[in-house]
């Protein structure tokens, strides 16, 4: 399952980032790492970005990015 498939309001754990080192660097620089828990807060319409909560910070992720974040729907705090 990727982050893009997650329903609004659900809390999931990141398994791995699968977009090459460039994207991985960008995500980790914004504090998004494998093992972290994210909650999808909002979705912008018309193929717009997702708004996710990671450790209490709100980050907008484009759909192309969200497609490359693999997550599992398992115990999260």
């Amino acid at each position: 399952m990727v982050l893009l498939d997650v329903k609004k309001g659900d809390l999931v754990r990141i398994l791995r980032l699968d977009g090459g080192t460039g994207l991985e660097d960008k995500l980790t620089q914004h504090g998004i790492y494998p093992g972290d828990c994210v909650r999808v807060l909002r979705e912008a319409p018309m193929g717009g970005p997702l708004l996710v909560d990671v450790h209490g910070r709100e980050i907008a992720l484009g759909r192309g990015v969200a497609k490359k974040i693999f997550v599992e729907d398992k115990e999260c705090e």
Binding site: G48, R57, G62
Partner: protein, 570 residues
Amino acid sequence: MRIALIGQPNCGKSTLFNQVAGYKAETGNFTGTTVTFTESSVRVGGETIEVVDLPGTYTLAGTNPAEREASRYLLSEDVDLIINVLDASHVAQGLELTLELLAMKAPVIVAMNMMDEASRIGLRLDGPALQAKLGVPVMPLVASRGRGVKPLFLTALRMGKKESIDTSNYLEIEENERMARHRLASDLERKFVKRGERRVSKRDRLDDFLLHPFWGYVGLILILYAFFQVVYGAGVLIEKPLLAYLETITTQAAAYLGEGKLFTEIIIGALQGVIAGLGIVLPYLVPFLLGLGLLEDIGYMSRVAFLMDALMHRIGLHGKAIVPFILGYGCNVPAVMSTRTLDDPKERFVAAALATLVPCAAILSVVFGLVAFYLGPLMALILYLLNIFTIALVGRILTAMIPEDTPGLILEIPPYRIPTLRTVTQKAWFRIKEFLVEAWPLLIAGSAILALANYFHAADFFNILFRPITWTLGLPAATGVPLIFGIFRKELSLVMLGQALGSMNFDTVFTSVQMITFTVFVMFYIPCLATLGALRRELGTKDMFAITGLTVVIAMITALLSRGVAMIFF
């Protein structure tokens, strides 16, 4: 002694810098406002020290040019002390950079900024315990209100004076690798930050409306509409009586000095320049910049990026590139500079090219002073929509020509913050000052020179140079000179227009169609000198010329098309 401020984007480094150095750096509640470093001499405790504000960086191994700039500076320059600014409401995130600095054994003080924000969301930080664990001073700070600034700098001064910093107490970083640092930072946060009851306030509910898939856009349109109404309303309120009054002074001065003499012409010319600044540019510039600063500091701009990302994708960019666009409405120079926060060179080129097409505050004065004033605010709004449409179209064409996929948006959305009157007014003043000291004198001198040229009929020469363009657009030959002056500063094209056509009552010398054609052309053609300089710095000479050529082509096409359409309606 030299002290460097480093920290993650939007943690308040520039706010802290401005607190000690007076307003010298641009601040805003969104990521990447500072793209280059600003240095200033500051007096602390009777001593003069250098303070450097570095661009926000998530890590010392950053990838975009703004981030690289920060780490390069730290590694190369001789910095006596580093103040590592952290956002106290996101300690773990900020500590990752701190751990990198500790691993380097760099001389560091940690400043926990936004302590008020942290306690608002129910966080309790055990500062002394964290200080003991890290082995470096940890000081509380609320930079926006100036709380904790003095103790911080006094400590910095004391530490900076020491010959060498004792690093034996530094927290040992066993594994200096980003995943390990991330885990360690999270552990530290869990240990030293207690999460209390989060008080849900109205501010937290605001996004339910402002980021709503439908109401969010209604809100966006309402906010931008209200913004323009206020700017126009305030401008017109001041402009009308002021211009009438100043016009009387000019006529009296002309009569007093004697009509037709060379001396009189020059004085009147210079006076016209003074009037243009006072009566046309300032009434719109001041409310516009105050409003823009307010929206930035509240934190609304990142929300705009979130809302507009889907649309920006259609023109080949992502939502983050909205920042240059919004800055562009103030001035194209910071807009072009802010493209530095984009990662991809191609995206930087496209964003910079499009940003130069955004009508800046100076062009706003032309649109409002000419079109809105004589043809009504609705017409001005139509021209702004035309502008947005053109930018979108050009964006599509440009990105289709240089294909490459963009990674997509990753952007932190900061919490809403209540801006302080001080930062908003200081920011507006910072930008207005630029107009007063750079543009206004040029305006006055240019106006006087043009009067001189008119007296000797030298203007004809310049007008012939521009005749191919003015003729094609159906504009009077005399508009050539104003268009040349517009390259120096955009607002000059309107002022010089008055001078060249012999009246500031433009409806007596221009038809409605000509007003529209002229304004559309001015909106797009050749970036002003300052913007050209910024383009050259950011992209190189070749790209600067490419963009200049592009703007002329776009200006011709759009001006001709709007002329055709306007002729049907007027």
